[in-house]
Symmetry: C3
């Protein structure tokens, strides 16, 4: 049997994703125990984590398994990621050996690697994640790479369905927000993919020039087409976009055309500090009751106002909770003993 990785949700078939969401719902109702006895998940964090680490570690434990948490460059050796590198400088271990060895100890590997390359053409390759997947002979889970955050995407899909019931034709707004840093696009793309897959009317609202990767946009449109009944549009007016929205997903990201170019990013960002989700702006959502989503961590009063986060529309904590349920389903489907 060839191994199945989980690097992006779209690598799995719609039926598999559907089965996972159904299993996650049973898990959330407390109907599923065990299945990961004597199973080990090795987690490699090249970037920080609160939800991801805690929910995976908890998920493994709740089903009888165990997660080992590694932080290369902190407690473990700094990793080299370039193929063919002559390793006579700072990196001590090549990702090749790390991936191969961890594959001998663990039943699956999970890797978080944010973009590091100085240009987007390189960053979008997800080199580190793909090297782990290539060299490890056990399944590899993407804990957020340059291009995708598929565990978040599953949680977003689960949350949308849980709260909106039928999602087909409902209005999903992904709105850009100002942020002091130019963040990666993995989360906004994954959120839009989740909504498109569920047949929603997806509106992406962002200031002019705040483009996403063209191939990612194409994928969002393709998924929407396959789902049927929905649509995808890009607009530049936050207030207009939110009007009539069933769900508003606020998230900041850096325009991919300015990736790795801080000199150009700064003035561009400075012009758009007013992109913030406020209670007032939310009033025009459907019945004023549009649900508010965010992957967390969120910059309070910068991306979203306190009044929204602490108010009745906000689902951000439920969304985070759902990470646990979908990931337990993911682990059971990938390495569970009762597959």
């Amino acid at each position: 049997m060839t191994k199945r990785d989980f690097l992006a949700v779209e690598d799995w078939s719609p039926a598999e994703v559907e089965a996972l969401l159904t299993l996650a719902a049973r898990i959330k109702r407390g109907e599923v125990t065990g299945g990961l006895e004597r199973k080990v998940l090795a987690m490699v964090f090249l970037d920080p984590s609160l939800r991801t680490r805690t929910s995976f570690e908890t998920g493994m434990f709740l089903h009888g398994g165990h997660a080992v948490v590694l932080e290369p460059g902190k407690g473990s050796w700094p990793l080299e990621t370039e193929d063919g590198a002559v390793m006579d400088r700072d990196t001590v271990e090549h990702v090749t050996e790390a991936a191969r060895v961890l594959g001998r100890y663990a039943d699956a590997l999970a890797v978080r690697a944010f973009p590091r390359a100085s240009d987007w053409a390189t960053a979008r390759q997800d080199v580190v994640l793909r090297q782990f997947a290539r060299h490890c002979d056990k399944p590899v889970i993407n804990l957020e790479s340059s291009r995708r955050h598929p565990c978040q995407e599953l949680a977003d899909a689960f949350t949308l369905r849980e709260r909106l019931g039928g999602t087909r034709g409902k209005k999903f707004v992904l709105t850009w927000a100002w942020h002091p840093k130019a963040l990666p696009t993995a989360v906004p793309v994954s959120a839009a993919l989740a909504a498109a897959r569920m047949g929603m009317d997806v509106t992406i609202a962002a200031p002019e020039g705040c483009d996403l990767d063209p191939e990612d946009m194409q994928r969002i449109r393709a998924l929407s087409g396959e789902a049927g009944g929905g649509s995808v549009s890009m607009v530049h007016d936050q207030a207009a976009a939110i009007a009539g929205a069933d769900a508003v997903y606020a998230k900041s990201w850096g325009p991919v055309s300015l990736y790795g170019n801080p000199g150009a990013q700064r003035p561009w960002f400075d012009r758009h500090r007013d992109w913030k989700l406020t209670a007032e702006r939310l009033r025009s959502s459907r019945g004023g009751k549009g649900i508010v989503m965010h992957c967390l961590p969120v910059r309070r009063n910068v991306e979203i106002d306190d009044a929204v986060l602490d108010g009745p529309n906000s689902l951000v904590v439920d969304q985070a909770e759902n990470r646990l349920h979908v990931q337990r389903a993911l682990l059971l489907m990938m390495i569970g003993s009762r597959r």
Copy 2:
């Protein structure tokens, strides 16, 4: 049911504390197993730990549960603690979201947050700990805050009773010790509270000007009064204080009136370098056999001499061991399945 936190021992009733100490004794005798199956404790360390982390992680495991250890600013996101903050600088996640989310994954939260504020009036509010308690809908355990170290307090109470038998009317000396840093007052206050609660004659020996928080002093006196049979006094002569002592608890702390004022602390500390617990000084304890306590970590030959720490009077390692037993009792009472 409203949740019960454990932020200070005095938040619990005397009967509850008594029940906890009784359960801890049964645990120490090996009579209690299980009770935390499928339970998760999320531990948030904003400051370092050896005993606290190891004993809680071990305690959860011994009863079938699991502890997740998080270090914001290291492996997880740096936390914002100010209410209403506009988070456009270094902090990435607000304690509000961290507390709410961890409450969805775990059955209880445990938080270590030493004082950080530049003035004592602010530090004594225990803002970080209280924010976690306010925003998390699961029970929160204080792993040492600005004002209290209640798990240490339980271990101190357990150790005093274990070694002295009846504690009523016995002499407990909390003696200040010199230290290169101005340490928080949580441990000395907690130690005095433990002894006062058990009806001991509490003598606090410290150089002139080494005051504790007035409200904390009041609480120590109040507890002593409620217990009956004991007393509380403050003296400035270490040798005289130790004479006839049944228990000598050595501990350094910075005078609260000089809190956050290094310029004034330095000359004050320099005048009192002779406050050190030596074997000679201990000879005047009751029969020369007064037990020596310290919360650890201890600065050898600075707070206490090698000869004392390695000699027959020292109980510091038993005290540390007892952390494990009282905390297992605490966890079973707070989140155990057989409550």
Copy 3:
């Protein structure tokens, strides 16, 4: 019963080592479960780790136990290691207390402490490791000290036997390799000890002046003599050494005579950058099929070429996997409930 530490393989009898390797083989075949229920291993890492940490944590879990991972100076207090120190500077806790306290929480202690002293005469004392062993009343496991890496040594012995079958009289070449840093000698000495113990013809190939500790060399020769049938020689020609080799163990180390002397190390190292294990050099091994070993992490294209590491001769990943099996055997023999 006095406690048995595992600081060096040669502290155990040949029969004990033999029993351990036999048990490890049964473990690798999946024939052994349980035995560490309710057992806790406290691991203290003063230096980084990937394999050691993951394999021990996994090993404890697979048999029902739990490993606590501590990193003094990061999440836990910086340790003082000098006896009699007046601790008025940066170190906050003495190894004495850390060892005593961890011995109360855990069933065994495991310590990694690379050399830190400025001179070899001091470094070779393994002070930190020995202090942990002296002060902890539970068994202590060496996770690599200045002088030995006994868990690696067990894995090396297991791997040699697994791949070569009868080892007696087979040719084992330990070859020095260039490296940007002067590394400790623990691994090369342990590898040579493993081969000598198994009666192999041990050739140590290194540039002139690249000496190992004389007492360690004596120990290698003594073990070889006790095993019988083998030999030990030191040569300065890598190509000649590899000719006819059954096993080639590549590893860099700093000459002990230049220990702590960077000014003299630099020019010495600069002269020997050609010591690298290449595919070409390997062709003269027995039938071109000599197995290639390395403890990992390995500097690719510096110590060993990509073509070798990714080729059919390389056993480095199996070697790493075998760490898990021999350590599970070690733990079962040291603290298992069915001893």
